[in-house]
C-alpha cells in the first residue's frame, strides 16, 4: 500500500503491454489473408504499403506476372483494413473486454465470499446462461430481436434468473452470508447442468454439436459492434467495482469491523453481486462460458499487486484483458503453427478459447501456487 511508486510503474507497464497487444492484433489471425500488422496500420492511416513488403505476400500478385498493379494494391489495402480492423482488432478488443470483466468479477467474488475458489460463475450465471441458450437453440429460436440474437437474450435471462433464485434462497436465512450464497449457487448450477444434459439427451446430433461448441466459449466476431453491444453492461460494472474498492478493503477485515467503520455491508454485497452478475451474464450471453480467467487471473494479479483492492481490481482488469488477448492469439495461431510443423492441413482453424485459457492458465496457476512460500501463504487467499 505504501509503495505507490512501484505500483504505478507496474500499472503503466500493464497499460503499455495491452496497448502493444492491440497494436499487434491486426496482424494475428487464423485466416490466410497474409495481412501484417504494419500493413493494416498503414492502410488505416492511408499510407501506401511498402511494395517490397507486398511481394512477399503470396496472394497479392493475383495475375502471377511478377508485377503488382494499382488495382492489386488497392485490393490489398482494402483487405488489410477490413481483415485487420473489422475482424482481428475487433476480436482482440472483445477479448480485452471479456477478459477484463471476467477477471475483475472473479477478484471481486473472491474478496466478497472470502473464498479463493469463487469465480464469476459461482452463483450459477454460466449454468443458467448456458441452459437459456440451449433452450433457445433446442426450440429453434434463432431469429433476432432488436438486433440481438434470441439465443443471447435467453442466455442473459437464464443467468439472471438463476442468480435471482440464489438471492431469494439466501435472503430466506435473513443474513446474506457468503457460505449460504455459495451453496445455493453451486446447487442451482448443478441443477442447470442436469437440465442441460437432459435437453442434450433429447436433441439430435446437430443441435448437440452446436451446444457443445457454445459451451467451449468463442470470441468469433464480425465487427466491433458486438464489443460495443457489450459495453453498456460491462463498463458500469467495472466502475461500480472500482468505486467499491475502498469499502471492499474494509470488508476484508470482517463484517463487524467494516460496519463499525461506516461500510454498509449488505448494500456493498448487493451492489457487487448485481454488478458482477450483469456483466458476467452479458459476457456469457455473447461468448459462451469462458472458464478459468476469473479463477486464475485474480490470483496472478494478487501475486503482483498484493492485497489492496484499489490496486487489485484495476490490475485484474488489465491482466485479465491481456491474458485473454494472448490466449486468443494462441488459439488463432496454434493450428496454423501445427499445420506448418506437420505439413498437414488440420481441421478447425481456431481453437476454442475456453480450451486455451485452461491449457495456458493451469500451468501458470500451479507455478504460482508452488512458489508461495511459507511467509506469503495465508489461509484466506
Amino acid at each position: 500500500m505504501r509503495k505507490h511508486g512501484s505500483i504505478r510503474l507496474r500499472l503503466v507497464i500493464g497499460l503499455l503491454a495491452i496497448g502493444a497487444l492491440l497494436v499487434l492484433s491486426p496482424g494475428v489471425g487464423s485466416d490466410r489473408a497474409y495481412v501484417g500488422w504494419c500493413d493494416a496500420w498503414r492502410a488505416a492511416f492511408d499510407v501506401p504499403p511498402d511494395p517490397r513488403h507486398l511481394l512477399t505476400k503470396p496472394r497479392t500478385d493475383l495475375n502471377a506476372d511478377g508485377r503488382i498493379d494499382d488495382a492489386e494494391i488497392a485490393r490489398y489495402v482494402l483487405n488489410a483494413r477490413v481483415i485487420g480492423f473489422d475482424h482481428r482488432l475487433a476480436r482482440s478488443l472483445l477479448a480485452l473486454v471479456v477478459g477484463a470483466t471476467l477477471a475483475s468479477c472473479g477478484a471481486t467474488f473472491q474478496v466478497l465470499f472470502r473464498n479463493p475458489l469463487a469465480t464469476p460463475y459461482t452463483l450459477g450465471v454460466a449454468s443458467g446462461g448456458a441452459l437459456g441458450a440451449m433452450l433457445a437453440l433446442r426450440f429453434g429460436m434463432l431469429e433476432r430481436v432488436a438486433g440481438i440474437p434470441v439465443m443471447t437474450l435467453c442466455a442473459f435471462l437464464g443467468g439472471l434468473a438463476v442468480v435471482a433464485l440464489v438471492f431469494v434462497f439466501a435472503r430466506r436465512s435473513r443474513r446474506l452470508t457468503s457460505n449460504e450464497l455459495l451453496l445455493a449457487g453451486v446447487t442451482l448450477g448443478m441443477f442447470c447442468s442436469a437440465m442441460m444434459l437432459l435437453v442434450q439427451f433429447m436433441s439430435d446430433e446437430r443441435l448437440t454439436f452446436a451446444l457443445v461448441r457454445w459451451m467451449m466459449g468463442s470470441l468469433d466476431t464480425v465487427t466491433s459492434a458486438r464489443t460495443a453491444e457489450l459495453l453498456p453492461f460491462v463498463a458500469p460494472a467495472w466502475l461500480a467495482l472500482i468505486a467499491s474498492a475502498p469499502a471492499l478493503n474494509q470488508y476484508r477485515l470482517g463484517d463487524e469491523l467494516a460496519l463499525s467503520r461506516g461500510v454498509r455491508v449488505v448494500r456493498l454485497q448487493v451492489i457487487c453481486i448485481v454488478a458482477c452478475t450483469l456483466a458476467t451474464a452479458a459476457v456469457v450471453a455473447h461468448c459462451g462460458p469462458i472458464g478459468f480467467v476469473g479463477l486464475v487471473v485474480p490470483q496472478l494479479a494478487g501475486r503482483v499487486f498484493r492485497w489492496d483492492c484499489r490496486i487489485l481490481l484495476p490490475a485484474s482488469l488489465l491482466v485479465g484483458g491481456g491474458f485473454l488477448i494472448v490466449c486468443d492469439f494462441l488459439a488463432q495461431s496454434a493450428m496454423g503453427a501445427a499445420a506448418a510443423v506437420t505439413g498437414r492441413r488440420l481441421s478447425g482453424t481456431i481453437l476454442p478459447i475456453g480450451v486455451v485459457t485452461a491449457l495456458v492458465g493451469v500451468p501458470m496457476f500451479l507455478v504460482v501456487l508452488a512458489r508461495r512460500t511459507g511467509r506469503d501463504a495465508d489461509p484466506d487467499r
Binding site: 500500500m1 505504501r2 469499502a247 467503520r261 498484493r306 492485497w307 484499489r310
Partner: protein, 289 residues
C-alpha cells in the same frame, strides 16, 4: 444522492464532539419473545472510562455491539449525543465511535502501518487514496499506542501483544471520541494488559471522549477504570465506581468465587484476591459438572 451525503459528512466539523451515549430501556434478543439482553438503561459521559465486567455469556459483547449500532435492538434506543444511533449514517457514526471486535480481524500480509491506515476510511469519503493527512494521523496513532517501531512489520510476524497494540493504534487513528473495545486485554501478558489500558486511559483523560471496555480481570478494572458495569444474565447487576461495584460479596454472588479485598490505608479497595480454599472448591465444582 450518496455523493451529496458524503459531501455533507465531509463538511461536518472534523473533531466529532462527544456529550453522552445513553441507552434507554434497551432490549435485545436473537429470537423473538426471548430477550437475551435488557432492559438496560445506562449513560456514558465524557471523560469516563467504563469497564464492562460479567461472566461469560452475560451479554458483554452484545451490549458493546449495540452501543456501536452494529446490532438492532428489539426495543429501546441507543442515543449518541441525544440522537438515535440508527438514524445516523454509518460513515458519520464511524467518526463518533470506534470499535475493536473481540476476535481480531484477518490481516493477510499487511504491514502494521497498512492496518492503521485502513482505519482512516471514515474520513476518505471522496478521495480514493490516502491523503498526507491520513498518513500523518496513522503515524501519530502508532506512536501513541507505543507501536511506532512496528510500523513496517508484517502483521503475521507480530506477537499477540504487538498485534493488539497495532489494532489499538488503528482505533486511535479512526479519531473517534468514543472507544468501544471488546476484551482488548485477552491473551496478553500482564505488562501488555497494563500498557493497552494506559493508552486508553491517556486517550480518555482530557475529557473530550470516553471509553467502554469489556474486561475479565477485576483488578485491571479497579486499577484503570473510572466506572464499572457489572452485567449478569443480560441485566445490569451494578454500575458506578469500580470500588463499589466490584465488591467482594457481590463478586461471590455473581461468579461463585470468594475474593479477599486488598485495601489502601484510607479504606478504598485496590485489588481483590481469590481465596485460596475457594479456588479449590471451584476446581471441584467444575470437575463434578
Amino acid at each position: 444522492m450518496t455523493t451529496e451525503r458524503h459531501a455533507a459528512a465531509l463538511a461536518d466539523p472534523r473533531p466529532a464532539g462527544f456529550a453522552e451515549l445513553s441507552l434507554h430501556d434497551l432490549v435485545f434478543g436473537f429470537a423473538r419473545n426471548r430477550p437475551f439482553l435488557g432492559p438496560i438503561s445506562w449513560r456514558v459521559g465524557p471523560g469516563e472510562f467504563w469497564g464492562v465486567l460479567g461472566p461469560n455469556g452475560a451479554g458483554k459483547s452484545t451490549l458493546l455491539k449495540l452501543c456501536c449500532g452494529l446490532l438492532r435492538p428489539v426495543s429501546g434506543e441507543v442515543a449518541l449525543n441525544g440522537r438515535s444511533i440508527h438514524a445516523c449514517p454509518p460513515r458519520r457514526r464511524a467518526r463518533h465511535i470506534t470499535y475493536l471486535p473481540q476476535r481480531l480481524p484477518p490481516t493477510y500480509e499487511l504491514t502494521a502501518f497498512d492496518v492503521v491506515l485502513l482505519a482512516r476510511y471514515p474520513f476518505r469519503a471522496l478521495n480514493f487514496f490516502e491523503s498526507a493527512e491520513d498518513v500523518e494521523a496513522a503515524r501519530l496513532a502508532l506512536d501513541r499506542a507505543g507501536a511506532g517501531t512496528l510500523r513496517g512489520r508484517r502483521m503475521s510476524t507480530l506477537s499477540g501483544g504487538e498485534a493488539q497494540r497495532v489494532h489499538l493504534a488503528a482505533c486511535l487513528a479512526q479519531d473517534a471520541p468514543l472507544l468501544v473495545l471488546d476484551e482488548p486485554t485477552a491473551s496478553l501478558d500482564v505488562r501488555c494488559q497494563i500498557d493497552v489500558l494506559r493508552v486508553v486511559q491517556d486517550r480518555v483523560a482530557d475529557g473530550s471522549g470516553a471509553a467502554v471496555v469489556a474486561l475479565h480481570d477485576v483488578n485491571l478494572a479497579l486499577r484503570h477504570c473510572t466506572h464499572a458495569l457489572l452485567l449478569v444474565g443480560g441485566r445490569i447487576a451494578a454500575s458506578g465506581v469500580p470500588g463499589d461495584v466490584l465488591d467482594p460479596e457481590r463478586l461471590r454472588r455473581v461468579f461463585g468465587v470468594r475474593f479477599d479485598p486488598v485495601r489502601r490505608g484510607d479504606g478504598t479497595m485496590t485489588a481483590v484476591v481469590v481465596q485460596a480454599d475457594d479456588a479449590q472448591t471451584c476446581a471441584n465444582t467444575v470437575q463434578s459438572d
